[in-house]
């Protein structure tokens, strides 16, 4: 799982049937100091996160596990909203 910040929302009417009903959010990966890592990407939102929130997400095939469907072409899913982080400097 990785840390990320929700930076925006994306709407799509035509999408694969099994993903209908889930919101999609643009996520920027961050490190424990909230510095950006890499490029933003789109993740399916399973918990109702909003722009500006720090979240954690799963990628790859495991991104399908938190969904209610057996199969969905999804390679990133938001699975939690971060309340606070304690981290010793790395």
């Amino acid at each position: 799982m990785y840390l990320g910040k929700v930076i925006g929302t994306i709407w799509a009417t035509r999408k694969y049937e099994s993903t209908v009903g889930y919101k999609m959010q643009f996520v920027q990966q961050v490190n424990s100091q909230m510095k950006n890592i890499g490029d933003p990407f789109v993740a399916l939102d399973t918990i109702g996160a909003g722009p500006g929130e720090i979240v954690y997400y799963v990628t790859s095939c495991e991104a399908v596990i938190p969904l209610d469907v057996d199969m969905a072409p999804v390679d990133a899913s938001i699975v939690g909203i971060v309340d606070s982080i304690y981290s010793e400097s790395l």
Partner: protein, 99 residues
């Protein structure tokens, strides 16, 4: 998933027998201002996208999670056609552009 624009179609006669009937589209990745990036992927279409449309592409093993691509040699699939994009946290975007 990555954001991209469909810029072309691929036709192929000799291919793996599992791929017969698949529609292959060339998708060029876009940044958040819809400016094209360098990289592109060839993706199987699962939603009926056409050339010029902005789409989302799921990559890796997740691309096999559709009814058509299940257990087939596919690593990129178009899973949504984008209507609208709203980037509300602009500072994040600017920081990422600076780096």
């Amino acid at each position: 998933m990555i954001l991209g624009r469909v810029i072309g179609t691929v036709w192929s006669t000799r291919k793996d027998e599992f791929l017969v009937g698949a529609k292959f589209l060339i998708v060029r990745q876009l940044d958040l201002d819809y400016m094209p990036k360098e990289n592109f992927v060839v993706a199987v279409d699962s939603v009926g996208a056409g050339v010029g449309e902005i789409v989302l592409v799921a990559q890796g093993s997740s691309a096999r999670q559709t009814a058509f691509t299940r257990n087939k040699p596919v690593d990129a699939v178009i899973m949504a056609i984008v209507d609208k994009l709203d980037i509300s946290v602009k500072e994040t975007l600017q920081e990422s552009l600076k780096e």
